[in-house]
Amino acid sequence: MTSNSNVSNMRRLVEQLKLEASVERIKVSQAAAELQQFCLQNASKDALLVGVPTGSNPFREPRSCAVV
């Protein structure tokens, strides 16, 4: 019956909100600092940041060299 399902829907919503409310939260400044730290620690290995050496670029058309 729709009326019963309205009540059970509301009860489910309350339970869901209780679950979401119980999350332990850390400060945004701490979260942001850790995200920044991760970026900086991994920057040197990020090919899109530091560039790919011409010789070892897997997507670049290989230029063939003939040894004469």
Binding site: S3, N6, V7, M10, R11, L13, V14, Q16, L17, K18, L19, E20, A21, V23, R25, I26, K27, V28, S29, Q30, A31, A32, A33, E34, L35, Q36, F38, C39, L40, Q41, N42, A43, K45, D46, A47, L48, L49, V52, N57, P58, F59, R60, E61
Partner: protein
């Protein structure tokens, strides 16, 4: 009837109280945002990537692409009714999979490289074995009551799907049956992303919310708001503690799981096009977001500034992806081409 109405009113009041409690708890930890914390990080400068390859082969709009875990093969899906598996180093097509339904919206590569999956307006997710002599349909996962918007393999035995029927679903590929159905969104689910440890995933939907789910228990653990329109794209930040969303409201946002809220918005007054897709570079510093304006704009994830653009497509950029080795970025478009940049 009166007793019931009284109960509903009491429950509504309880919901409102809980919502207020959640907002207050978020506000209490909101002591600064990303761009102020990132003040000390060096600028990335102008990011100028070159077009290395244009992959021609599809005859109609490309809707989705996904890299293989070998960072070399890639699968794309087009409404020309085909999946194409490419060797991105040579530009050659390795496999062509003809689809029963041409209205494909999503494609995925299994981590093993043995299987691909696709689905769309047929409401199904079809899994193919591409290592067989000719592509063989392994499973047709048929239970969603709305379009398939996104699919991702956990392994050759399990796949996660997102659907226009507002649910996400974990399937057992051995039996072809649903294992867990994730219900909580009130709008079409458009995109999902798996955490590295495969214990959780995030989903973005047309209700403008992103949700974090426990993959094994089937529960929604956290809900993130802020967008004012459909979320079309979602990806985890590489350390797994945050994720980025792209929306029809023309902005991208980064949300942190542990502070349970948005930490920065990526938007520009001159950008009035919806975000269709997004991917991150391996360090998480760069966000590549595909827009309806035919471009893929590059954002500095820490400072919130636009630092570059990949221009070259003649129609909407519908999908983007960075392979596991981070050596390049692929964009796919309604112009029927895929482009590789680095």
């Amino acid at each position: 009837m009166a007793a019931e109405k009284a109960e509903i009113d009491a429950l509504k009041k309880e919901c409102d109280g809980l919502r207020t409690q959640i907002e207050a708890a978020r506000k209490a930890v909101n002591d600064g945002n990303m761009s102020s914390a990132a003040g000390s990080a060096t600028d990335v400068g102008r990011v100028q990537l070159k077009l290395r390859k244009s992959l021609k082969g599809h005859l109609a709009k490309i809707y989705s692409m996904h890299w293989s875990s070998d960072s070399r093969s890639m699968v794309s899906a087009s409404q020309d009714g085909k999946l194409l598996v490419w060797d991105t180093h040579t530009g050659n097509k390795l496999v062509a999979v003809p689809l029963k339904s041409a209205w494909v919206m999503s494609v995925a590569f299994a981590p093993s490289g043995n299987l691909v999956a696709s689905g769309g307006l047929d409401n199904m997710c079809t899994v193919y074995n591409i290592k067989a002599a000719s592509p063989k349909t392994l499973r047709e996962l048929d239970a969603h009551t709305g379009y398939l918007s996104c699919c991702r393999f956990l392994s050759d035995n399990e796949i996660l799907t997102a659907s226009g029927d507002t649910t996400c679903c974990l399937w057992d590929l051995e039996t072809g049956k649903q294992k867990i159905i994730f219900t909580n969104h009130i709008g079409d689910c458009m995109s999902l992303a798996l955490s590295n440890d495969e214990n959780t995933f995030v989903s973005g939907a047309c209700d403008s919310l992103a949700k974090l789910w426990d993959l094994r228990e089937g529960t929604c653990k956290q809900t993130f708001s802020g967008h004012t329109s459909d979320i079309n794209a979602i990806q985890f930040f590489p350390n797994g503690n945050a994720f980025v969303t792209g929306s029809d409201d023309c902005s991208c946002k980064m949300y942190d799981l542990r502070s349970d809220q948005e930490v920065i918005t990526y938007q520009d007054a001159s950008l009035n096009a919806g975000v269709t897709s997004l991917t991150l570079s391996n360090s998480g510093r760069l966000i590549f977001a595909g827009y309806d304006d035919f471009n893929c704009h590059i954002w500095d994830s820490l400072k919130g500034e636009k630092v570059g653009v990949l221009s070259g497509h003649d129609n909407r950029v519908s999908c983007t992806g960075v392979p596991a080795d981070g050596m390049g970025v692929c964009t796919g478009s309604w112009d029927s081409f895929l482009k590789l940049w680095n």
